[in-house]
């Protein structure tokens, strides 16, 4: 109650600022209260897919901070269920969307940018780019070379384990494939499920495909394969499935009926030894309510496979972004505010505010205060910064129709149902499916 009041007071004070802005706006220039591209006061709207409790709270905290810092700009947030938002993105962006929206980098960003459904923000980027590393800068560029998004958080994919389980059995972290397999054998002997795999939703298995392909065939081949420049019938893809089939016997039983949360539960309850997933697995540990469990969570990068590409240390580290729509009816009036918002979310201090509510999302800005990171986050930052190549995850690097439930998700489930099969015909299906897709 008290907090709310103080926020209102801030808004009230800020209101005078926006009044000034309004008077200035009547003069025919919306940007007069600030220099350059941004505007204070006024209003803007935001379409958000952050529906999980922590993420939603984080978004609200971020927006409140923006309002008070930007002369009381009124921000209308429209929060839509994550899956629904994703499924309806195409009609959303073509209809009457909000000014700004939450989205993903990678192919999914470039696709809508190239369709003319996003507003380029090169001017904002020029002002904030010194706060970002090369990798992040590359992730927000559209096909036309313009910048369409501001990266705000990311999370790496790695092999998660419990420190106490490893200590109790005297396991050591494997750094190469043979050690990894030997560890699986030992875990099985010790009555553990060596590797938790939970692929009911279809996308978790894509993470394993990504990392094996990256280690075995390198970043360039992986991105070319996912964008159709290499055929799915390539023998290098066959090699990925062959390699993969060496560890599938160590997976959770009934894996195609388990959700990723149930997989995380196996790790949490010490039933499974390892789990290849994104850092968001920590959210499940946090939700268990016992901080001791979260303290035990640790991870290591996927083991080397003994190829030249091990040196790339490539991994999936999907980046979440904010973008500006094109068809928002209010955007022309709110452009200054929306750009101010984009500038605001690029600040490390803003991103930390969000991260405090959603610890699975690491700030992207270089000036984020890293001193408050717990060991797990610090380690995540470290393995991402030491990676020479970063991918966005299968379903962000490839076409959504190809990676979706009736595409690659289904194919990988088919593979996992019988991993020892000759994958020739399955790869033929993948290629035929890719070839059947209309040009983008």
């Amino acid at each position: 109650m008290n907090l709310d009041l103080s926020r209102r007071d801030v808004l009230k004070i800020a209101g005078y600022g926006s009044l000034a802005a309004f008077i200035a706006a009547c003069g025919g220039n919306t940007n007069t209260t600030t220099s350059g591209i941004t505007a204070k006061g006024g209003s803007m709207s935001l379409g958000s897919y952050n529906t999980d409790p922590g993420n939603k709270k984080g978004t609200q905290a971020l927006v409140d901070a923006f309002s008070s810092a930007n002369g009381g700009t009124k921000v209308k947030i429209n929060t839509v269920d994550h899956g629904t938002f994703q499924n309806q993105i195409s009609s959303y962006l073509q209809g009457t969307p909000e000014d700004a929206f939450t989205w993903f980098s990678g192919h999914r960003m470039r696709f809508f940018a190239s369709k003319g459904l996003a507003t380029p923000i090169d001017d904002v980027w020029d002002a904030v780019k010194s706060n970002y590393t090369e990798g992040f800068a590359a992730s927000v560029k559209g096909d036309d070379g313009h910048v369409y998004a501001v990266p705000t958080d990311y999370y790496p994919w790695a092999v998660f384990y419990r420190k106490d389980v490893f200590a109790a059995h005297g396991y050591t972290v494997p750094t190469n494939w043979d050690a990894f397999k030997a560890l699986c054998v030992q875990m099985k002997k010790d009555g553990l499920i060596p590797i938790a795999m939970a692929d009911k939703d279809g996308w978790p298995a894509q993470g394993t495909f990504d990392i094996i392909n990256l280690r075995l065939n390198g970043y360039d081949f992986h991105t070319e394969l996912l964008t159709g420049k290499q055929p799915w019938t390539d023998p290098r893809v066959t090699a990925v499935y062959k390699k993969w089939s060496e560890i599938t016997q160590y997976y959770s039983p009934a894996l195609s009926g388990l959700t990723w949360q149930q997989g995380a539960d196996q790790l949490l309850r010490k039933q499974a030894g390892m789990y290849l997933l994104g850092l968001f697995v920590s959210d499940e540990f946090k939700a268990s309510g016992s901080p001791a469990d979260l303290d035990q969570l640790d991870f290591f990068p996927f083991p080397d496979l003994g190829t030249q590409y091990d040196a790339e240390k490539a991994l999936d580290a999907p980046i979440d972004v904010y973008m500006l729509t094109k068809k928002s009816p209010t955007l022309s009036a709110d452009l200054g505010q929306a750009k101010a918002f984009m500038e605001f979310v690029s600040k490390g201090s803003t991103q930390v505010l969000y991260w405090q509510n959603a610890p699975g999302s690491i700030p992207t800005a270089s000036d984020a205060d890293k001193s408050q990171y717990p060991a797990l986050t610090a380690k995540a930052v470290q393995i991402v910064s030491s990676a020479k190549r970063i991918t966005q995850y299968f379903d962000r690097d490839s076409r959504p129709d190809f990676s979706g439930p009736n595409g690659m998700q289904g194919f990988l489930l088919k593979f996992l149902a019988n991993p020892s099969q000759d994958t020739t015909s399955l790869q033929g299906e993948m290629k035929a499916f890719w070839d059947s897709l209309p040009p983008e």
Binding site: Q86, G257, Q262, P438
Partner: protein, 323 residues
């Protein structure tokens, strides 16, 4: 219906003068309808017809047109988008999911027709016998019907979950380590969700059929009993023929339920890995992020053609009963 102006029969018998007057004066084709009647009919037929054309046949025809394009749902449809029969060609020859989805719909139809619907009818017959506690049984069997299939999906997902699910635990499969992956194994997951769908469908059919049974004239059964017919004979030779209109509705409802099956499979795993259905292919191709609107429309047209079968059956039977 009570209003004489909306009912044609009384108008025909009670106001012939008006019509006769019109014919004699103008030497026109004989008509029993006054101008007001005509206007009323025009309104009553015209407005629903216009809405039907606008809201149902418009989009339907649009789908048919879109099925010849490769439109991605963004921007206008232009001449460049037209690809002829390519979508259909790929659908029938290249798309590996079409025939599985088609056969899953057929299995769904067969399951409902031969297992769930007869079970619902059987329950209705049992409950019609005025046994003790019939109200309670009715409520119990009918309860799932008020739940949406999405909720039914959630409920059964919990029952079927491999490790924490009720079924694997109650049969001791978790303890013995022989987990059955009810929803993940493509050989059995379709039947697993058919059980869930039937849980609801049985109650639905039961209540429909029960309503029909209540309207059967008791004297027919009495007559049958006097003639020495057994219970089974009475049902198959007396009650069932009398129930013909209800039977048609039951058949059509069953067929429609099978064709529009979507929610449960979608909730379980977005319709992949053995749960592909035509409706889900339409959704995943054209309405989701994939935006293959043209290809999705082609599947929709195929489903439309299939659906016309039961619709025509239903309409022709209804027309016959009315005539």
């Amino acid at each position: 219906m009570a209003n004489p102006t909306t009912s044609q029969a009384p108008a025909r018998t009670k106001a012939p003068e008006a019509g006769a007057l019109v014919t004699t004066r103008r030497k026109r084709r004989y008509t029993l309808l006054t101008r007001q009647d005509k206007l009323l009919i025009l309104m009553m037929v015209g407005v629903p017809l216009a809405l039907d054309l606008l809201l149902i046949w418009g989009p339907t025809l649009a789908s048919v047109v879109l099925s010849f394009t490769n439109w991605d749902g963004i921007g206008p449809v232009t001449g460049n988008n037209i690809v002829g029969l390519k979508n259909y060609q790929f659908l029938f020859t290249g798309y590996t999911l079409f025939w599985p989805a088609f056969s899953h719909n057929l299995i769904w139809l067969a399951w409902l027709t031969f297992i769930a619907t007869p079970l619902g009818m059987f329950l209705a017959v049992l409950l019609d016998r005025e046994m003790r506690g019939t109200r309670i049984y009715q409520s119990v069997f009918f309860l799932p019907v008020v739940l949406s299939l999405v909720v039914v999906g959630f409920i059964w997902e919990l029952q079927y979950a491999p490790n924490d699910g009720f079924i694997n635990n109650v049969f001791g499969l978790v303890k013995s380590g022989k987990l059955i992956d009810w929803l993940g194994n493509p050989r059995i997951n379709l039947f697993a969700i058919l059980v869930a769908a039937s849980w609801r469908h049985v109650g639905y059919i039961m209540i429909l059929y029960l309503a029909g049974l209540k309207s059967v004239d008791p004297s027919l059964r009495e007559a049958a009993r006097v003639d020495g017919a057994t219970q089974v004979q009475t049902f198959f030779h007396v009650v069932l023929p009398v129930m013909a209109p209800i039977n048609v509705i039951i058949v059509v409802v069953t067929a429609i339920e099978a064709l529009r099956a979507f929610d449960i499979a979608f909730i379980i795993n977005q319709g992949k890995n053995g749960l592909e259905l035509l409706s889900i292919l339409i959704y995943n191709n054209s309405l989701s992020e994939a935006s293959l609107v043209g290809f999705g429309s082609a599947i929709a047209v195929v489903l439309l053609v299939i659906s016309l079968g039961p619709i025509i059956l239903f309409l022709s039977r209804t027309m016959k009963t009315l005539a």
